[in-house]
Symmetry: C2
Subunit: 430 residues, 2 copies
């Protein structure tokens, strides 16, 4: 069964992930050959800084001319682990034009241009795989695309950013505030010097767009994803969550509407009951909870980032793409036949936890309750606490649309007796 001509792989980028991919291709060469049915050979590594010493990488393979590398014409697989939009996009497109299949770990690019890249792969009869783009080592794209291909997925609820989960877990377990927990994450290397992409939810939003598209067999653009960061989550929010038997997670939530005719995708911090499997996901781990008609509730858990875990996912894709090359077949490509509209955030329906600072005098609760009722938002429970003329009201609602809740909050702010809206947080996973 084993053929002798090796399959040729080029690596674009040789940072934390790329160097691990190269290392495993060398150290596990025999296993990879046995699993693929032919040896794989690393024939080029495109880097920005050619002078940097890269242990275990033959210096003769290193080049700064990534474009020339992908144009060789004899490549079977191009592995893109550069990240960002350009030059990654141009290089991937050129790779397809010159007959290579592509394995990418680039969530931003796939979220933004996945449809066009899939079209380019189709045009040239090649594969585009990107298991590593969502939740690192956790098999997620393949289970959603293949294992659940005979099922109907209704909801994907995930912790898909390790940095923010580390910060929130720290706040939960120590009572620390956001800044203190962020500082610790930075010191330990879990957060980058500029943590914006993580803490503002951009990274999670890209993953949500990819997951929603695959789960619902439709196209979900990055712009379709409602995004709220977690920089305003406070120690007081965690205290409130604890009182409700909840913790707080930054969640990526992709849902099919009850009538099945539209979908939504969003990223925001939310309270989640401690009994929910996602509540127990600690530190920088990721986990994605999937609800479908027939399978019911599934969860996939593991390290969502890091060189070796991401390399594991990349190598799984390399093996798959190589097998396809040998058999002359192609893996499942984009499946967007359902072409469902993406509804705006206002139509999302969930529950809310709202903390209000109010005047400590009779009739306030009645006023507040009236505002909720006028906007069609049904109250589940209210807790009132008063001290020295100051008081707080904590309202937990039944399920209501985001638009109705927004209208309610706007009206509450106009009440003389409401001094401020201390926090609004969605409650998920019930």
């Amino acid at each position: 069964m084993m053929r002798t001509r090796p399959l040729k792989v080029a690596l674009l980028g040789c940072g934390v992930v790329g160097s691990e991919v190269a290392r495993i291709m060398t150290t596990h060469a025999d296993d990879l050959a046995a699993r693929i049915g032919a040896p794989v050979e690393l024939v080029g590594v495109a880097v920005r800084r050619p002078d940097k010493v890269r242990e275990g990488i033959d210096p003769d393979l290193v080049t700064t001319d990534a474009t020339a590398l992908v144009k060789r014409g004899d490549l079977d697989v191009v592995v893109e682990v550069i990240g960002g939009i350009e030059p990654a996009r141009a290089l991937i497109t050129t790779a397809f034009e010159h007959g290579a299949s592509v394995v990418s770990a680039n969530k931003a690019l796939i979220a933004q241009d996945g449809a066009a890249l899939h079209a380019a792969a189709d045009e040239h009869g090649r594969d585009l795989y990107y298991e590593a783009a969502v939740a690192g080592a956790i098999p997620l794209i393949r289970p959603l695309r293949e294992s659940l291909a005979g099922d109907k997925v209704n909801r994907v609820l995930g912790i898909v950013n390790g940095t923010t989960n580390f910060i929130l877990d720290k706040m939960d377990s120590t009572g620390a505030g956001y800044q203190e927990a962020l500082d610790e994450a930075t010191a330990l290397g879990y957060a980058e010097a500029d943590p914006t992409a993580d803490v503002e939810g951009f990274d999670a939003a890209a993953k949500a767009a990819i997951l929603a598209g695959i789960a619902f067999h439709t196209r979900v653009r990055l712009d379709d994803v409602h995004r709220e960061g977690m920089t305003e989550v406070t120690a007081a929010d965690f205290a409130s969550a604890k009182e409700m038997g909840c913790t707080i997670k930054l969640l990526a939530i992709c849902e099919r509407a009850a009538d099945g005719a539209s979908v939504t995708a969003r990223v925001h911090p939310a309270m989640i009951p401690l009994g929910h499997p996602l509540a127990g996901v600690r530190g920088a781990y990721n986990a994605v909870f999937v609800e479908s008609d027939a399978a019911g509730q599934l969860m996939f858990y593991g390290p969502g980032a890091g060189g070796a875990p991401t390399a594991s996912a990349v190598l799984g894709d390399i093996v798959a793409v190589c097998r396809n090359r040998l058999s002359g077949a192609r893996g499942p490509g984009e499946s967007a036949y359902a072409a469902l509209p993406v509804s705006p955030m206002g139509e999302v329906v969930t529950r809310y936890h709202i903390s209000l600072d109010v005047a400590d005098k009779p009739g306030v609760l009645a006023q507040v309750a009236t505002v909720f009722a006028e906007h069609g938002v049904s109250i589940d429970t209210v807790r009132q606490q008063g001290k020295d003329g100051e008081a707080s009201l904590v309202v937990i609602t039944h399920r209501a649309s985001d638009a109705a809740l927004g209208g309610t909050v706007e009206a509450l702010r106009k009440l003389d007796t409401v001094r401020g809206v201390a926090s609004i947080m969605r409650v998920e996973g019930e």
Copy 2:
């Protein structure tokens, strides 16, 4: 892309799983066609009792002659959900001989005859898929075989039997004894009238054999799996586990030896720390924890049985096999190139929790400790409790081989001062 000739599927068995498969094939026909690239048509259903009313199944499709059905010669896929060894094995073999690919949910058959069935599939150039055979709806075979194809799996630790997990979870949460918890499981339909296959670990052992083979790219026969049931787990064991910050689960454990040159597979009850992700798997849910070189720790969680969840896995396989048929390709078959020996249980290394009933007099601990030392089993902690001339010793060991522990226990039983060995339980997941 859509071709009009439908792919033809025959169903062998129409019980809880088969009827769900048929139902979903009808209700989701359009989605399945879009995802496969061609419509799929159910052309025959082999049953034992043809007169039973089967809602949603065209009576004209029903036959009692399964052999004639698989010999039609125009089938693309045969779905085997009969269970047991025969006639399932003969029907699958005949299906391959007549040009069909096979999707099976039959753990016992795959565990016993997987190698021969894969060989038959190879001989006829057809696919054999069986995602549903292990842990129901949870994608596990595909992630191990494909997503982790570029990684080196070292350990698989799983709760793969829902009945026993329900019973143990009930004992843990209520303090009930085994019989009481089993009675409740039976009353609620989680346990069969004869629960032997579940509670004695036969079902889990078949799954362990399949998982070990796929994870380590080697053949592991059912006979290679060391198996202990959970009927002797007591409320006292749970009390001991709680004192250690543990719970008790029936685990399927597949391990690669530290030197990589051999593997082991076993099923037995074990203590597991409450902080381990498997400890939180409640009720009849299943979960499988996978440790690999690059990916690190992954967990896959979901419903391990039931008609609809199992049907979800079967349908995912039907879609994959149909796609392969259309493209003329085959999915990854058996991968057993590593050909690693399976070591006997005596070579398994783990920790142990041992409860001894001993005479309440001076020197007993010294005697007991000497026996452990003589057998090379290092003690981690000992707790001694005495009352009215009776005493108990609880010993927790460091890691030791099963053979060394066995020798230790045998010698302990011979001590005059040891009145009995109340329980021995392995401690895993640390």
